[in-house]
Point group: C2
Chain length 431, copies 2
Amino acid sequence: MAERIYISDAGDHVGQEVSVQGWLYNKRSAGKLWFLLVRDGTGIIQSVVFKGNVNEALFQECEGITQESSVVVTGTVSEDKRSVGGFELQVSDLQVQQLAEEYPITPKEHGTTFLMDHRHLWLRSVKQNAILRIRHEIIRACRDFFDGRGFTLIDAPVFTPNACEGTTTLFETEYFGSKAYLTQSGQLYMESGAMAFGKVYCFGPTFRAEKSKTRRHLTEFWMIEPEVAYMDLDGDMDLAEDFVSHVVQTVLKNKQAELKAIERDTTALERVVKPFPRISYDEAVAILKKNNVEFEDGNDFGGTDETVISEAFDRPVMVHRYPAQIKAFYMKQDPEDESKALCVDVLAPEGYGEIIGGGQREDDLAVLQRKIKEHELPEEAFQWYLDLRRYGTVPHAGFGMGIERVVSWICGLSHLREAIPFPRLMHRLSP
Amino acid sequence: MAERIYISDAGDHVGQEVSVQGWLYNKRSAGKLWFLLVRDGTGIIQSVVFKGNVNEALFQECEGITQESSVVVTGTVSEDKRSVGGFELQVSDLQVQQLAEEYPITPKEHGTTFLMDHRHLWLRSVKQNAILRIRHEIIRACRDFFDGRGFTLIDAPVFTPNACEGTTTLFETEYFGSKAYLTQSGQLYMESGAMAFGKVYCFGPTFRAEKSKTRRHLTEFWMIEPEVAYMDLDGDMDLAEDFVSHVVQTVLKNKQAELKAIERDTTALERVVKPFPRISYDEAVAILKKNNVEFEDGNDFGGTDETVISEAFDRPVMVHRYPAQIKAFYMKQDPEDESKALCVDVLAPEGYGEIIGGGQREDDLAVLQRKIKEHELPEEAFQWYLDLRRYGTVPHAGFGMGIERVVSWICGLSHLREAIPFPRLMHRLSP
């Protein structure tokens, strides 16, 4: 029996008879030939059935094989530069595992709702396959980056006991007679981890019950959050630019075929190398004014503002020192201007907006207690967090990066829903 | 200024003056010497303050430095085999960042509830630090194993629309006017992924609202679930034994210091190499009878049963072909004995019980529809899943492995709660 191979390994088997186990992606005939495009999840290979090479019944059978039928194809691998993937199979045998019913997703155009309803099948298409392979590479590059620098993975919990910053965007669940809330960020836990392990990160799903239908929001999304003890805002920005450029350059290096499959122009991505420009919030506001954007000083930036700011640069831009009053209570104030927070947002180019938010954390117990009061938060719920300032507090900083936003940017997608295998949106909970 | 190093890198700086940023773990004095044990999360280094080397005020200050105070220590690295970590620091300067308040966790014994209430600080202890570093290594080994074999990571959703198999152990949340349930397994989604990518895995938190207070249950735990198209039960067992032995051997190779820190006798772990014994459910029952265990044939095994079965072997044992009636509807029946399912559980040695559950999935549309009816499940909710049998169905198999059970086993822990950074149990939702 011929050796079973994956299509991605075809190049190692030129001249050998092998067997490929997959599904019919497409087919066409030309006289005494059938060209069957067979996919197995790792690639697509053109399988050539020549009437003279196979028995009559098998040749006839090709006529009836429907799209997405499961097939085991045996044949000899040959190189063919014109073929998809660069190799062909000269078929000697073919077995149909199952003739598929009429497949709902055809080469013609389908509406988004229809495709989302069929997400479990839509994943089989070349484009969705390539996007999710790139997603995998991005995730791997993220983990390798921190693992390679001696960070310890400290998974943050999903269930949290308190609705610390208001319940409007929190998912809530009954928890054995009390209430639990689904995490929006692992940061506070990572601060605890940084004091124990020096350098930590978490990487898991986070949740936001936002009544938003924009292309930039999912209710369930993955976030990676590093946190480092004895690191200040400058160190945080060094880390962020090293990290983002590592991820982008790794994808460019390892996923050329996939980027080509989704027709991504990678010119702008190739420029994503450090140093990234670092500008203050005030400088960013000046860019808006110069471009005649209506903007009230002191506010947070909206999507359009971010696009205008990022268009002034040829790579991601780091905007630091936003007004303290629009930032979370745990942000450290700038000692040189207490109205500003020692925070940073990284804005992606090409209109993709914020991909990273982070900064230096308030490490003074008294200041943090005062800010918890000012923000009218329940101090009791933060006692464990305040402990980190009681027992050997140190300067520390970190950030969070939303994976789907980065996938969306690197793949050039117009909507986050294609950046995750099974997207969850306000009106989308299935399949 | 001296170069800032992490303690784990001390060996690269022998003879050099460096600076270490960390916390005071412990100290003792002897005449003109203070021995300060300083930890920075990557290790502990004995820092020797000799009265003749530093100014008088600094030497005096050592007296007052409390446990877990944050300190920056400057000094020259020297090799000292008797010292923890193998290196010492001959201190020339020392700065106290913050004098810690009286630290609640002291070298004396503490009760479990107290330690769990202080989990955010308990992480700093040598043992908890080592366990979570081993956890990180296990997770990395899991991902590397599948990445290295061409699997694609397909993250399964946490929010699922249906309470397919009863709601008693499901966490439920309001989802914009309807109900969503937190995932208990990504398997059905992985089956969809396997048909699209050939070989896939997911790795994320899963949830079980079990009213159980045993040491083997968490409400929130991490699970890795591979799924492969065109793979049968034998292939599944091959994959499981390759996987488990890879993970164990990788930890043994890379985490000797941590295993030593938790005083783990690794003799039994060293035997975890393939092939693992493969026995049928019936053979496992025979082992129970032989050991005079009271057991009703046809039932599932309990914890004690699993221990007795696993004690008959010197490494993990794979028990296959359980009675179909005690297994889930999606398990494929054994064509040679329809009362049995083509499933497998992997039982860890040393009484740690089931770490893997998996098997071959039912791939026939009509049989699956019949079983959904027999199990009185709502067929409508499974239409998308049934689509996988309509459009090119193929034999396929996979399994799920709970990470905390593996961490617990490899570290020799008596309770799962120490196998995850912030455990969530029936009566434990904080910090």
